[in-house]
């Protein structure tokens, strides 16, 4: 936030006008201190203190959080003190995206990684996120139910999060499913797959997109 420095008391005929003060002190200092919206790394985001922002009364602190410097992905976030835990509301930016196009088989009836594990997305901070998974299936038999779900850190994938694909023989359907996952801790989401355990399923073009809803900076 811009610094606020009150103009000192003036005497009659004083040259130190408000305009001069603002131009030479306030604006220069804000510029020299690099105030305003800042691009922060995840560690710098976690180190923030003294935050403010209250809907309707106090303008929110805002940051651009660099969540993937390799791909240039930044999230624009605004602080809201009224939130219970996840006080940074997401205003915009690209999703974190991961993709495996290789076509690989699964025969397990429990969730497993394929030969190329993933896709995977590392959540930079805890929070509420929209997690979208997609995949295509090449079936070897009619029915051929196949599920694409994801581990959340050390917690194994579950059907409740899964995208189910089923087909007529040799059809190649594709599907997508989005879930709003709340109160996630900092963790890596890693796709896992299972079939009915009877017939092999061949999965391809699997991807995962993760978009924040609101997050916390301190964990």
């Amino acid at each position: 936030m811009p610094v606020s420095i009150p103009v000192p008391a003036r005497s009659p005929g004083d040259l130190l006008t408000s305009a001069l003060w603002n131009a030479q002190v306030k604006d220069n200092i804000n510029k020299l201190l690099d105030r305003g919206h800042r691009v922060l790394t995840v560690a710098q985001f976690a180190a923030l203190t003294g935050l403010e922002g209250t809907k309707g009364t106090v303008a929110p602190d805002e940051v651009y959080l660099e969540v993937d410097s390799a791909n240039g992905i930044q999230w624009h976030l605004a602080y809201e003190s009224g939130e219970t835990t996840y006080k940074w509301r997401y205003l915009g930016g690209p999703a974190l995206y991961s993709e495996v196009v290789a076509q690989e088989n699964v025969t397990s009836v429990t969730y497993v990684a394929l030969a190329t594990a993933g896709p995977s997305v590392a959540l930079p901070r805890g929070g509420d996120y929209d997690v979208e998974i997609r995949s295509g299936l090449t079936a070897s038999a009619r029915g051929n139910p196949t599920a694409h779900s994801y581990d959340i850190g050390g917690t194994g994938a579950v059907d409740g999060d899964c995208l189910w694909l089923g087909t007529g023989a040799f059809d190649t359907p594709a599907g997508v499913r989005t879930r709003r996952k709340t109160a996630l801790a900092t963790a890596t989401l890693t796709s896992k797959y299972r079939s009915d355990g009877v017939t092999a399923s061949s999965i391809h073009n699997r991807s995962m997109s993760v978009t924040p809803v609101r997050i916390r900076h301190d964990a």
Binding site: L15, L16, N28, A102, A113
Partner: protein
């Protein structure tokens, strides 16, 4: 960083997504440079010089007696300079403390890397900076990326997928799948086959039970120009 070295040795590109301790060290060093007294003094002097020019112009504009201008200007500049010095010093020291906290936090976090290669894009893996090994969340992911058979299979599919005649590439892929369903283990030869389909057929041999499949594969391979390995 043993895991990173192994990944890059396979030709994968690896970039830092977040959590880099080195980046925080650089940011802290930059913050300390800005907080050095001589740097603050230089910046404050710049403000003082500009303020003196503006104050002089203002005095002239107001018609202040020329003899009184230097005194009036110097008083205003002195007050501006003092305020600038105090504010910048405090804020820059706070900024150093902020980056010290950030560095301390970065040291407790794994570094998240994003890995790209044939057959996949943006796989996020966490590496423990202290050991160079993947964290528990990423152990399976890294092991899968380093698996030689899976790597060759991805190269095979990538090369076929890059072929200028997709219908022929699909035909080849279909026959390979057919071979596998008949019990062949062809993965080890596939990478070579991706650049020279004739060689993989020769290496695989032609058991009687799948002779017809091999013949089809050979026919398809005859139509398949040499493929280029991934860059």
């Amino acid at each position: 960083m043993p895991s990173l070295d192994q990944l890059t040795a396979l030709g994968y590109s690896v970039g830092v997504a977040s959590g880099s301790t080195a980046a925080e060290q650089e940011a802290l060093a930059a913050a300390r440079d800005l907080a050095a007294p001589e740097r603050i003094e230089t910046d404050v002097q710049t403000i003082a010089d500009k303020a003196a020019l503006d104050a002089t112009a203002l005095a002239v504009q107001r018609g202040i007696d020329a003899a009184q201008i230097p005194g009036a200007v110097s008083e205003a500049v002195a007050r501006i300079t003092q305020a600038a010095l105090e504010t910048i010093t405090v804020a820059r020291n706070e900024n150093v403390a902020f980056h010290e906290r950030a560095l301390a936090i970065a040291k407790t976090m794994p570094t998240t890397y994003v890995v790209n290669g044939p057959g996949f894009q943006n796989l996020y893996v966490d590496i423990d900076d202290a050991t160079g090994n993947p964290t528990a969340d990423s152990t399976e992911m890294v092991a899968a990326l380093l698996d030689p058979d899976a790597h060759r299979e991805r190269l095979f599919q990538h090369n076929l997928g890059s072929h200028p005649k997709p219908e022929i590439a699909a035909e080849i892929f279909g026959y390979v799948q057919d071979l596998r369903e008949k019990g062949w283990t062809v993965a080890a030869e596939i990478a070579e086959g991706a650049t020279n389909p004739k060689a993989v057929i020769a290496a695989a041999g032609q058991p009687e039970t799948i002779a017809d499949t091999v013949a089809k594969l050979r026919d398809a391979a005859e139509k398949l120009p040499d493929l280029n390995p991934p860059a």
